[in-house]
Amino acid sequence: MNSGGLVLIVGSLLAAAAAFIWMAVKLENGGGKGKAKGTQQDQLADAAKEDVEHIFNTEFREELRNRGRLHFEKILGENAMFLQQDLRQTTTQLNDYMRAEITRTLQEEFKKYEQSIVDAKQIALDSIEKTVATIEQQRQFLEQQMKSETDAQKDRLIQRFENEMATIVNHYVLQAIGSQIDVADQMDFILAEMQANKQAIVEDIKRGTS
């Protein structure tokens, strides 16, 4: 910045200050005229006030009040209607929301309940299957045991029957013909048996007599 610029700025500032001072003095001098003007304005205000009181009298005010009341009532009615609509809409939405929430909650609960039932059913089925498997195992074991016992008993009976077969058949033969058969009738059988053992008898007698 050169000195010329600086001078220009300082000159501008001084000019502004002088204008400000002039304005202040001018205003100071114009205060007496304002008082006169203020009185005139007060008069005008009073006149206007009086005219206003003439225009806005009681009837007009009552009319305005009625109109205001009606307008207010109208606005209130409209707002009440809007409020009612909003309330109804809100209630509907709330109902829908509640219904949806309740439905969702119920469905979740039902799902949980259903899942619980399914789980319980599965557990019961598993338990039943295990029980059935155990019973089947027990049944097979018992069947095998009974079969082995039966076989053993059968074998024992057969063995005993075979061991005692001669006695049993002899018993039944005696039951059938015991009281009717005489020694004389048996003689052929006896002699045949003796004939079969003749050699042994003879040898034993020879040993006994020698």
């Binding site: 075979e162 077969m165 001669a166 006695t167 058949v169 002899n170 033969v173 005696l174 015991g178 058969i181 005489d182 020694v183 004389a184 048996q186 003689m187 059988f189 006896i190 002699l191 048996e193 003796m194 004939q195 053992n197 003749k198 042994a200 008898i201 003879v202 034993d204 007698i205 040993r207 006994g208 007599t209």
Partner: protein
């Protein structure tokens, strides 16, 4: 006497002993007859059919003392040494059955064999024979026991319908 012929009526050692007693009685009778007083009445002894048969079979004159002695000695020998078979039956055998049995025994085992009969109800059918050292179960039960495989086969066939 070489070989005493025993009739089928002489079955057991008891019969032999009874014959010996009878012979002894006969000897006593003849001794008494010789020692009797003249004119004394004598009661003639009655001989049993068995002794008569025995005397007849062995050609023995029972009026002769020597024959009687020989017969008595033979009977004593038979009583002492003849093989005796003990046979037990379920019931008392009839004389006819015993005769059949003794004929077979003397024809097949020994000519002077004696048989002592006993009772053993458990035998049921058949008999139980006992020799001096052995015993033979000749009952139906023993016979069935011997043929047990055959019985098993028969029963198996009856059960299975073959």
């Amino acid at each position: 006497m070489e070989h005493l012929k025993l009739s089928t009526t002489v079955i057991s050692p008891a019969d032999v002993a009874r014959l010996r007693r009878e012979l002894n009685g006969l000897n006593d009778f003849f001794v008494d007859a010789q020692a009797r007083h003249t004119g004394t009445a004598m009661q003639l002894p009655k001989l049993t059919r068995i002794l008569n048969q025995l005397a007849k079979d062995n050609s023995v004159n029972l009026l002769e003392e020597a024959d009687r002695n020989r017969l008595s000695e033979a009977l004593g020998a038979a009583y002492e040494h003849a093989p005796t078979l003990h046979i037990s039956f379920a019931s008392e055998p009839s004389p006819k059955a015993m005769e059949k049995l003794i004929v077979w025994v003397r024809g097949n085992i020994h000519p002077q064999a004696l048989v002592q009969v006993g009772l053993q109800p458990t035998v049921a059918v058949g008999c139980f024979l006992r020799t001096p050292n052995m015993a033979f179960d000749l009952s139906l039960r023993a016979s069935l026991k011997k043929s047990q495989p055959q019985l098993v086969k028969l029963i198996d066939g009856a059960i299975n319908g073959r």
